[in-house]
């Protein structure tokens, strides 16, 4: 029989550069994003936001807005049907402010009208009587005893203290440094958008661009006063996330308006509102002191880290945990004292962003390593190699690395990537578009200095500190009209990172079937956890692998029951649509699929521990490492920069889709490079001054150099396919590497990113601190709100307790 011929292997499985399934529609403009959602007769929602960083609300007068043309609803905090607050980790954020507003941009009232313009005009007619209160907009001032209090219990969100070995241990050589990072924005190209449709059962169907459908629902249902099953959340087209969509934005507001009016309500933020409507990367102030032996072995590290969490908790406590636990970098150090503090201020809330606390720490510890190398007269790469972590090493938290830790390998392989050729630097010898300033014709090669900088770093994969962020998947194998067909259902959010493609690759490899259908992601299946923390390939990939394995076993039972086996001990296998026994074809898979086979499985990563009073515990699941080298050219007269090349080596475990991994490295590098050179929300007195893409600059193609990537593949034990998360590492190291290259080119300190032209030409003094930032006297190591009984958000999922209202 001609159709029983066996091809070598199933096409489109793991390890292949499978084209992204969403790639073509996105490239052609055919992909429907959340902002394209439409329903007949729908209304448009609009949000009225606080103009003050801190104020008491005396009264809200809505009658003029209600009477405006085309208006169907004007709602305030009084109209929130259930719980008045929500939040990822703690429900400290009002759905709509009553009593007080704590940041500029905080939602105060919402309007539904027949046209977005009518909604906007009606909102402008709402009169809110504010009594402006003193605001605290500086993270250091927030710790002072007489500072205005953002929360009743004070301004400290979390204080982590990690005591490792003997923190008083002396060293031959010490270097000290102070570092600052600015407030970066995720700047996803698709602003927040969604559509809420009231359902006949009194519930609500919400279509939204998000990172985690179930945690949205977890926060929405109590506020809407609905049981969990009556809130159904469907993933709409996501135009980038990078952490910005981990928090709820318009979900509860649109649902309230839809339930109130009985009509579908769409909310779609504009660019300026998007900057107000999501959390940002925490600005940081970091002080570090590194002690080493004369021959370059780290002996002791003291670190104090201060992170500005803004007005509400979001995921600040986890970010503080990460920044603190990663403060020593991918290096072995026998003694350390690390104190990390996240504070509340009246600045815009900060939360998840690619790198999640590891970015800020890496900028500081890598600058320290360079300083130490200079003082010791040791090559910076050699110093890093000398102290590199490896399997069996112990982190300052006491956690032992039992997985792979190819730190030496990433450093060595990155350093071995050939440097780009020197370019002629004299005037008029090259295309002006290739000099710093690019298309703007500011130089023809004058004043150019080349610099090379190196950074290594690391991060965890998946959630930490005792959190079980499991993922569920359902897989069905059936006989389709054109052969066997696999259908996958998972709530994993495709946010542009490629998880949908990876899930189909896994199914192909596991079941030997090339035709795979992926159902839309929604809450009709169990949680997949968040598309964050570099975790979806491991977690949802793991769930699909488990479910496929269960389907395969069921299929093999049928095969064994029906086929008179020539070799009863023979091993069954699926490949390219065939069932093989001892590598010989038994027949096409669909012969055994008169009834489809369906299985659901949940993947859990191994358990982790909460952090204890001394900052100790096996708190993270798995670690991945990376190194990048940046070559820059600085126009020393103008302080303008062109990055010439990024060399990257990354510990990926194993690459399930090498092209996608390289894409993640390049995209993450662009975001780290942006942080080093230009990306900063300028917040003055609590107000964002550059909430636009005119003035919040992100790199263009002329700012991005070629990225030469090396994938270091050492499969991680105990993890599906040995694949580590790959989404965040390049962001963590790129900013530090670019900053180091700028220091190398200019000889300047450059202890704050983004580095500005003023810093590079010496017009601005580097920021200084009189000693380390204060360590507050508060309960720890858990989050301070927990000690005051505030628990909600993700913690509810953890406790499986859905009845908080």
């Amino acid at each position: 029989m001609g159709d029983t011929r066996v091809r070598e292997r199933t096409r489109g499985g793991i390890g292949e550069d499978v084209a992204r399934i969403d790639g073509l529609p996105k490239s052609k403009g055919a992909f429907a994003y959340a902002s394209d959602l439409w329903a007949d007769g729908m209304l448009w929602g609009h949000t009225l936001r606080s103009p003050h960083p801190h104020a008491r609300i005396r009264s809200i007068e809505i009658s003029a807005a209600v009477a405006s043309p085309g208006v169907h609803a004007v709602l305030t905090a009084e109209d929130v049907p259930g719980k008045k607050t929500y939040g990822l980790e703690f429900a400290d954020q009002p759905v709509l402010a009553w009593d007080r507003v704590r940041y500029v941009g905080e939602p105060v009232a919402i309007v539904a009208a027949e046209h977005p313009e009518l909604a906007r005009r009606a909102a402008a007619r709402i009169v809110v009587d504010y009594e402006v209160l003193p605001a605290v907009t500086d993270m250091k001032e927030a710790l002072e005893p007489d500072a205005p209090k953002v929360m009743e219990f004070g301004n400290v969100l979390r204080h982590v203290r990690i005591v490792h070995g003997d923190p008083d241990a002396d060293a031959d050589v010490w270097v000290e440094g102070y570092y600052e990072t600015g407030m970066q924005d995720q700047a996803p190209l698709g602003p927040e958008a969604g559509l809420a449709v009231p359902a006949e059962d009194g519930g609500i169907d919400v279509y939204v661009a998000t990172q985690w459908l179930h945690v949205d629902r977890q926060q929405m249902a109590p506020c809407l006063g609905l049981p969990m099953e009556k809130v159904r959340v469907y993933l709409a087209g996501v135009g980038g996330a990078f952490g910005a969509r981990e928090d709820v934005s318009m979900q509860i507001h649109a649902s309230m308006l839809a339930l109130h009016t009985g009509k579908p309500v769409k909310m779609s933020y504009g660019r300026a509102e998007s900057f107000l409507g999501h959390v940002h990367r925490h600005p940081s102030r970091i002080w570090m002191r590194h002690g080493a032996t004369r021959d370059g072995r780290l002996v002791n590290i003291r670190a104090r880290l201060l992170l500005d969490g803004g007005a509400y908790a979001s995921s600040s406590t986890a970010v503080t945990g990460n920044a603190s636990t990663f403060a020593c970098g991918p290096y072995e150090v026998p003694n350390a004292l690390i104190e990390g503090t996240g504070v509340y201020t009246n600045n815009p809330p900060c939360g998840a962003m690619r790198g999640f606390g590891a970015v800020q720490a890496c900028f500081a510890y890598e600058a320290q390593m360079d300083k130490l190398a200079a003082v010791l007269g040791i090559d910076p790469i050699e110093l890093r190699l000398k102290n590199a972590l490896s399997t069996g090493s112990v982190f300052p938290t006491g956690q032992v690395i039992d997985g792979t830790a190819p730190v030496r390998e990433v450093i060595e392989r990155c350093a071995a990537i050939p440097l780009p050729p020197e370019e002629p630097t004299g005037p008029a010898t090259r295309d002006p578009i290739t000099v710093p300033g690019g298309a703007q014709n500011v130089g023809h090669g004058e004043g150019l200095k080349r610099g090379v900088g190196f950074a290594a770093g690391y991060k965890n994969t998946a959630f930490s500190e005792g959190f079980d962020d499991s993922s569920e998947a359902w897989v069905r194998l059936s006989a389709g009209p054109a052969g066997p067909l696999v259908e996958i259902r998972s709530a994993a959010a495709e946010v542009g990172q490629g998880v949908y493609t990876i899930l189909t690759q896994i199914a192909r490899s596991e079941l030997g079937v090339e035709r795979v259908i992926l159902d839309p992601s929604d809450t009709n299946i169990g949680s997949a956890g968040s598309s964050s923390a570099s975790r979806q390939t491991m977690m949802s990939g793991g769930a699909v692998q488990l479910a496929c394995g269960a389907v395969r076993e069921a299929l093999f039972e049928r095969v064994r029951a029906r086929e008179a086996s020539s070799d009863p001990a023979g091993e069954l296998r699926l490949e390219a649509g065939q069932v093989l026994e001892s590598e010989l074809p038994l027949g096409p898979i669909e012969r055994f699929l008169d009834e489809p086979i369906e299985e659901t499985r949940v993947f859990h990563h191994r358990p982790t521990e909460p952090i204890d009073e001394r900052g100790q515990g096996a708190i993270h699941v798995s670690f991945a490492f990376a190194a990048e080298r940046a070559v820059v050219e600085v126009d020393e007269d103008l302080g303008l920069v062109r990055v010439i090349q990024i060399a990257a080596a990354q510990d990926v475990g194993s690459a399930l889709n090498p092209r996608s991994v390289e894409g993640q490295i390049e995209g993450g590098t662009a975001q780290g490079l942006g942080l080093a050179l230009m990306e900063e929300l300028q917040v003055v007195d609590g107000r964002i001054r550059n909430a636009s893409f005119t003035d919040y600059l992100i790199p263009t193609i002329l700012d991005m150099p070629p990225v030469v990537s090396v994938l270091v593949e050492e499969p991680e034990p105990g993890v599906p396919y040995g694949a580590k998360g790959v989404g965040e590492l390049s962001t963590i190291v790129a900013g530090a590497a670019v900053a180091a290259a700028l220091r190398n080119a200019t000889g300047r300190e450059l202890n704050r990113i983004p580095v500005k032209p003023d810093d590079l030409v010496g017009l601005a003094e580097p920021p200084t601190s009189s000693g380390p930032p204060a360590a507050p006297d508060v309960p720890g190591p858990r989050s301070v709100p927990e000690y005051f009984g505030l628990g909600a958000g993700q913690m509810e999922i953890l406790a499986n307790d859905a009845d908080d209202a």
Partner: protein
């Protein structure tokens, strides 16, 4: 909101006279942004992008006329011999923006960061205006009278800019904190006029309007005379004179601190750009560029 759709200039001027509040729109790269962000709601728009008189450029009697409706994309393709103007056009936004945006938009919006404006200032351009019953020209510095303030009367339309063709090299440079698609932090246009034996330097984004560095211009023209450079492009200008020129250009700037940059950096950048632009112009003259 009404949208008026004139087919001829005459019709457009009549419409403008009848409805002076109508805001002209051509490429829409400024106007539509303001509309979409709800920053400005004009009573009416008057679409001038189909008026043939505004879409042309021409040379006549040693003068150059650039219609207000000529896009930056067309300037780059059709007017490449006007080096500073082409360079300035290249720095405007993205290719999409350059295919829509027009010089008239820079003039009408009147932002000191308008990329074409320093070039028109360095060319000493006259801005040609018309209403239903009169036509007039206004020198560039009398047209822009403050931040986004122009001398345009409510019943007038901008026809374009006219200037005397200059023999001699020149350049436009723009500072921004990324390498493309950026609003000007500081811009400089330097034009050497071999016939008038003059150097003209205009600065953008460092004052309420585009500025000319008159003292620096006079100074450097005299230095070029002193060194004999006007007659012998091979004659070197003393290094000190280059520095003194750059300082005088910087002194002409009236910058402020804002979200895009500091006043100190803007002033500093003006000096660097001035020195470089003069160096490029002198080198071009030495090599005979722009000479018959």
């Amino acid at each position: 909101m009404d949208v008026l759709l004139p087919r001829t200039l005459e019709e457009a001027l009549e419409m403008k006279a009848a409805k002076p509040e109508a805001l002209p729109i051509a490429g829409g790269t400024d106007v539509m942004v303001e509309l979409n962000f709800d920053l400005h709601r004009p009573e009416a728009l008057i679409d001038i992008c189909r008026l043939p008189e505004l879409r042309e450029w021409k040379r006549e009697n040693g003068m150059i006329f650039l219609g207000a409706g000529v896009t930056y994309g067309r300037i780059m393709r059709e007017l490449s011999e006007l080096t500073p103007l082409t360079q300035a056009s290249r720095t405007v936004g993205s290719p999409q923006i350059r295919n829509r945006g027009t010089v008239g938009g820079n003039l009408g919006t009147g932002s000191p960061a308008g990329d074409a404006l320093p070039v028109l200032a360095a060319y000493d351009a006259e801005i040609e205006l018309a209403s239903a019953n009169r036509a007039r020209s206004v020198r560039w510095n009398e047209f822009h009278v403050g931040v986004k303030k122009t001398a345009l009367e409510p019943d007038e339309l901008i026809l374009g800019a006219r200037w005397r063709a200059v023999r001699g090299p020149g350049s436009f440079s723009k500072i921004g904190t990324r390498n493309a698609m950026v609003i000007s932090v500081a811009g400089l246009c330097l034009v050497m006029d071999d016939d008038a034996r003059a150097v003209r330097v205009a600065l953008g984004s460092v004052g309420p309007t585009v500025l000319r560095a008159s003292e620096a211009e006079t100074f450097v023209a005299e230095e070029l005379t002193r060194s004999g450079n006007w007659d012998d492009p091979g004659a070197d200008l003393p290094v000190d004179a280059m520095g003194a020129f750059a300082e005088r250009v910087a002194a002409a700037a009236r910058p402020i601190d804002d979200v895009r940059g500091t006043a100190a950096y803007r002033r500093h950048a003006c000096a660097v750009l001035a020195r470089r632009a003069l160096g490029w112009a002198l080198a071009a003259r030495r090599e005979g560029v722009g000479r018959p």
